[in-house]
Amino acid sequence: MKTTRRSISLLSLLLAVLAPLMQCKEAYVSPYAPPATGWLVVEGYITGNSPVSYTLSRVAKLAADTTRIYELNAAVQIEGNDNSIYTLTGQGNGLYVSAGLLPLDPSAKYRLRITTASGRKYLSDYAPYKITPPIDSINWVENGNGVTICANAHDDAGTTRYYEWSYDETWEYHSAEDSKYVYAEDSVAPTVLPRDSSNQVYTCWHNGSSTNILLTTTDKLSRDLVYEFPLRQIPLNSVPLSVLYSILVRQYALTDSGYNFLNLMKKNSESLGTIFDAQPSELTGNIHCLTDPTEPVIGFVSAGTMQQQRVFVSRSDIPVWNYSYKCQFLDTLVIPTDYQTYFGTGGGYTPVEGKTSGLGYSGYYSNQSYCVNCILQGGTTDKPTFWPN
């Protein structure tokens, strides 16, 4: 039996409540030299309704600037207990993907076999193929802290019980000001030209993915019903809902041991670390190293159908959402002799509007590039295909 997701951790949270008065949290840099590990990390989900993809990487040393170490050139296979075998092919960056949808049998069990380029062999336990019920709805709830995106699902057969979600999110956002001009970097004759629409930097889309492990169980409920499971908390008046927000939620059914594995991983890495939290502990999955049985492997192979749903939330859907730009408007007039200084590399300014005086533009009202160029806030000007209008 599992603890409910909210019971104990809230106690920790209450301690965090007292934080401003008593607690004091500082960054900590371990004085200890981390040991070398390099154990294999396996992440993915065996499913028949989208291409199967697995990512292989290695445990890295704990340091300020850790870079992800991918496991390349491994042979990765999915094996069914019905003697079916499907091969995943490497796509670079540790990613191994099946050729299209796999014709998996819901009554079969599947496992993962890996042989690394160095010849070490790994094999997982068989995982039953679970049927994931559809997502009933993705809704949002407004509360004092912002907007929470929630998932709802149920299984009348009552066989799902353990749910996991992940999501991709996209939001449209705008610069504080719409720049109609672009600076042409030219050392001989620096000039400012009208910006064409393909080069716009006013509207951007930010793409992101879930970074938390999202899972719950209904094993304490009389019905297999998930009601408003919080997936994503959007802080009050923040940028994701400044124009239009979209989330694509994927839902997976897990076995109880698969759930326990992820739940322990979540506790070990996402808990608040306050005084009443459980201490971190060892994580054991269902993948084994055949070459050296004592070598730990991080990962748990689960199989089943995958369900997904996309929803949009517009700023106008929310009664009050006071997103404000941290920018002042048109505060700087840049005259031609200063173009290179202001608009050139390192200048930090982008022209917004021209100032006309008789013969032509005598200068440009400009603003800090951060306020004008939405790309600088981490997004892209490439409009996603699924984006409306």
């Binding site: 603890t3 409540v17 004091c24 960054a27 704990l62 492990i213 890495s269 670390g273 971190p280």
Partner: protein, 926 residues
């Protein structure tokens, strides 16, 4: 002892023109009828008073303890009085106002001028004490001297042989409040014979017949003595006078050296006065925080009241509050301890020589006793702090017979929560506790004590999840004295601890869950002072447990939560014990005890059976067996040995050794670092064995400067078997097969403790240093997983170096400064050994437990106690306590942890009190 039977007291009596009265007057006297065997004179005189309507004036100190047989029918009063006092040297006289004066030696016609002055007029003296110097001797020079120089004759002069031993027993009481004086030393110099008063202030001493000077010394009390002429067994109650303040006078005393003379070792006692001097956070005197400053006692951090005594876990301490077991000793996230300082009298910690009457926990017994209440006057006190307030009232119900003390404490911490950011503003936290003690002296041989304790904590977060927990305890204790040498204490009571959690955040998951533990106990303890060399203690106890390990139920109507109620657990824990304190000559004494404890787990229950020889996992569950109600499921038991010996090398140097074994049948199940309010307790069952521990210890004790400085060094080595630890990812709440998530580990703990203590004088306090290790091991591959490859790993509270200084300097009677400083090695933690990427985020990987340490701990606290003036005749006395907790503002890490936030791993160091925290407290006594 000075008991004045005066129904009407008026100072006019001192001026009585009573000279005309006739001694031994026989005139118009009432006739009385008495028929008593073996009555004491005091009771007889009262009976005569009742019959005659005359007023009798006498001092019981003038009578010895012998009893008389008297039979008279319609005889004149004079004849009866003559009969009563024949051969005692006591004279009597009756005046015309029908006052009967009974005096030693000369018969008087009225009261002697100093008769009332003989009474201890402590209040007047107190008034004079409001100066820097030691208080003047003048006002009380004569009175105690009178008592001290008076010869008390005990036993009939001509009864039995003048050789041999006689036994004297009685109570020591504080003269002003009538409360018992505990732990006082009662001794004669030659031959050196001494005893200590027990927790009721009772003592019993066997002395050779003849003339002796009986010395009585107790910390905080003025030393006194009695001249005794011992002819036979007798009773002697002695009132001691409280010492106001000892500034310049250094009390030089040989017998205060109880640490040298006591046989037991590893025992520390602190009285509430000392506790109140020690600065603590928020300024509220805190019993447990002071205990943590003793050598060999550690805690995991600032916000924990869980004690780790000599390498034991927090659940291995038996915390007794007036015989009631307190399961959760914390209020308010561990910031406060559950004991109201206004009610507590003293605290005694047994960490090595645990008396045979106690059992059931491995590491220590923390015996917290509360005061009995003032037997003379209604008094009270109140205190106001930043977060809590307390009030207590005490006084007689029947003067000198029955007293009560009622104390309460509450918090108003919500203002603190209101200062928080918006999203937390609806959070609430509160606690209260209530104490009621009634002490009733039925007669000289029977005392009854009734105690009740109630504590409750409640907090919720944004009106969502509400947590509450509390202790409830009630006990009844009867002390009966059979004879000078033999008394019994019978006690019975009920203890309960419970917690509840409820949440209604999500209507579908809204739930209520809870846990409780109930115990009903009966204990009988007997003390038999066999001879000067032997003191026997024996008794039995039985304890019935009923635990509800958890329920989980729908919180609201719309909730879909399936109710889950784990089966209750019940058991009987019984014990028989016998111990003997044996003095072999003056230098050597031995205390040996044996306790046989027996634990029966009782039905109804379904017990899981696992395949033998295989790890206890769900996969290896082969069957379940159902047991009916009251059926014994499993019996554990065995002897426990408690042995200690002392050898006196010189008058102020002794060496002691001890060995003791313990068994523990109830375990706290928790995998958090600190004791959390949601920790549950579990009884031993067929799958969970009792914990077993044994300890050897050796100590050297030396006192300096006329026993004003005590020093000691103790070393110990301890083995722990079947201590519970947890498998990785263990689920401890509402787990119907919790044994599959637990592992039994073996532990060892060893260390050296050094203590230097100065308890008297302007400057007092102690310094302690401990070096110790606590290591655990799980190396049985069949038990499930190996922890740290089966090697020893440090326990969470393994902090090898620990040094503490606690000091108080009394600048004047009204102003004192306290300082404490503590340093310890950082506790062990589990740090990640690497990072990996999973589910969109960088994450930490953990392997071996407790292989790293958090930075060392250092803290200094300062407080100032300012008393109002000491004039006695004012309505209230008040005092202020001001101070700063964590004076240096050091950010002592409570924990170090890593957390994945927005896809990356960040490391943090968390301090509970990250800055200097000032506090102020106002106390008032009335």
């Amino acid at each position: 002892m000075k008991y004045f039977h005066i129904l009407l007291m008026s100072t006019a009596w001192l001026l009585l023109p009573g000279r005309r009265a006739l001694a031994q007057q026989t005139g118009e006297q009432p006739l009385v009828s008495v028929d008593f065997d073996h009555i004491n004179r005091d009771s007889l005189l009262r009976e005569l008073e009742r019959q005659t309507g005359y007023r009798f004036y006498y001092d019981t100190a003038d009578f010895d303890s012998t009893r008389v047989d008297i039979h008279a029918t319609q005889e004149p009063l004079a004849k009866v009085l003559n009969q009563v006092f024949s051969g005692t040297g006591i004279r009597w006289s009756i005046d015309r106002q029908h006052h009967v004066f009974i005096t030693k030696g000369e018969a008087i016609a009225g009261l002697p001028p100093d008769f009332f002055d003989k009474r201890d007029t402590g209040k007047d003296r107190l008034a004079a004490a409001d100066t820097l110097s030691d208080y003047p001797e003048e006002p009380d020079r004569q009175q105690p001297a009178l008592l001290e120089n008076k010869l008390y004759t005990i036993g009939e002069k001509n009864s039995g042989s003048p050789q041999g031993m006689a036994n004297i027993a009685g109570y020591l009481r504080e003269d002003k409040t009538g409360e018992p004086v505990v732990g006082a030393s009662i001794y004669i110099e030659n031959p050196r014979i001494g005893v200590f008063s027990d927790q009721y202030g009772y003592y019993s001493i066997s002395l050779p017949k003849g003339r002796h000077i009986l010395n009585i010394q107790s910390i905080g009390m003025r030393d006194t003595r009695r001249l005794l002429m011992i002819n036979g067994d007798g009773k002697m109650n002695i009132d001691l006078h409280g010492q106001v303040l000892a500034l310049k006078k250094v009390i030089v005393s040989a017998e205060k050296a109880s640490n040298i003379k006591r046989t037991d070792m590893g025992v520390q006692k602190i009285d509430i006065k000392t506790i109140k001097q020690v600065p603590v956070v928020f300024g509220e005197a805190d019993v447990l925080r002071v205990v943590m400053m003793l050598p060999g006692v550690k805690t995991v951090g600032d916000a924990s009241t869980g004690l780790n005594v000599r390498g034991g876990s927090a659940d291995q301490n038996l915390v007794l509050f007036n015989d009631a077991t307190i399961y959760n000793t914390a209020h308010f996230f561990g910031m406060f301890s559950a004991f109201n300082p206004e009610v507590v009298k003293d605290v005694e910690l047994y960490k090595s020589s645990i008396p045979a009457q106690y059992g059931g926990r491995l590491s220590s017994v923390l015996d917290i006793s509360s005061r009995e209440g003032n037997k003379k006057d209604i008094t009270g006190s109140a205190g106001i702090g930043l977060l809590t307030s307390r009030l207590n009232i005490e006084g007689p119900i029947v003067k000198d017979k029955t007293s009560f003390i009622l104390g309460g404490r509450t918090t108003y911490a919500n203002w603190l929560l209101n200062l928080l950011p918006d999203q937390y503003r609806n959070s609430r936290a509160s606690f209260y506790d209530l104490n009621l003690n009634i002490s009733y002296e039925i007669d000289k041989k029977n005392n009854l004590f009734i105690t009740g304790y109630l504590s409750q904590d409640r907090f919720n977060l944004n009106n969502d999840t509400t947590y509450s927990y509390g202790n409830r305890n009630a006990s009844l204790k009867w002390k009966h004295i059979f004879s000078n040498k033999f008394f019994s204490v019978l006690s019975t009571g009920y203890d309960r601890y419970q917690y509840k959690i409820s949440s209604s955040m999500n209507p579908v998951d809204a739930y209520k869950m809870g846990f409780d533990i109930n115990q009903l106990y009966f204990r009988a303890n007997f003390n038999y002072f066999l001879s000067a060399a032997h003191t026997l203690q024996f008794g039995l106890s039985t304890l019935h447990y009923k635990l509800h390990p958890g329920y989980y139920q729908p919180g609201d109507k719309g909730s879909l939560v399936t109710p889950v109620v784990l089966q209750s657990e019940q058991a009987l824990e019984s014990a028989l014990y016998l111990s003997d304190k044996y003095s072999i000559g003056a230098a050597f004494s031995l205390e040996g005890g044996i306790r046989y404890s027996l634990f029966n787990e009782l039905g109804p229950a379904q017990v899981n059976n696992y395949a033998p020889g295989l790890p206890v996992t769900e996969d290896n569950l082969v069957s379940t067996t159902a047991y009916g109600s009251g059926k014994t499921i499993k019996t554990y038991g065995g002897p426990e040995y408690r042995i200690s010996a002392r050898y006196l090398l010189t008058d102020n140097l002794s060496v002691k050794a001890g060995y003791n074994t313990q068994r523990q049948y109830i375990h706290m199940i928790s995998n958090t670092t600190a004791m959390a309010p949601t920790d549950i307790w579990k009884l031993s069952d067929p799958n969970i064995r009792p914990q077993y521990g044994d300890q050897v210890s050796l100590g050297l004790y030396r006192n300096f400067k006329a026993n004003t400085i005590e020093t000691s060094v103790e070393v110990y080595y301890k083995h722990i078997q079947d201590f519970l630890d947890y498998k990785s990812g263990a689920v401890l709440v509402l787990n119907p097969h919790i044994e599959t998530d637990l592992i039994e580990t073996q532990g060892k703990a060893y260390g050296v403790e050094l203590l230097i203590k100065k308890l008297t004088g302007k400057f007092n306090g102690w310094f302690s240093y401990t070096w110790s290790r606590t290591l655990l091991r799980q190396d049985d591959p069949n038990a499930g997983e190996l922890i740290n490859n089966g090697n020893y790993y440090p326990a969470n509270y393994d902090k090898p170096n620990d040094a503490t200084f606690v000091g108080n300097y009394r600048v004047s009677h009204r102003f004192s400064v306290s300082l404490n400083t503590t340093y310890s090695t950082g506790r062990p933690i589990t740090l990640p050994i690497g990072v990996y990427w999973f589910a969109g985020s960088e994450r930490t990987l953990y392997a071996d437990r407790n292989t790293y340490r958090i930075p060392d701990y250092f803290r200094t606290d300062l407080s100032m106690n300012i008393e109002g003036n000491h004039l006695v005749h004012q309505r209230t006395h008040n005092s202020w306590t001001l101070g700063v907790y964590n004076l240096t503002g050091r950010k002592n890490p409570y924990s170090v942890y890593y957390v994945s936030e927005n896809g990356v791993v960040n490391g943090y160091k968390l301090s509970i009190f990250g800055s200097a925290i000032p506090f102020v407290n106002f106390n008032i006594r009335f």
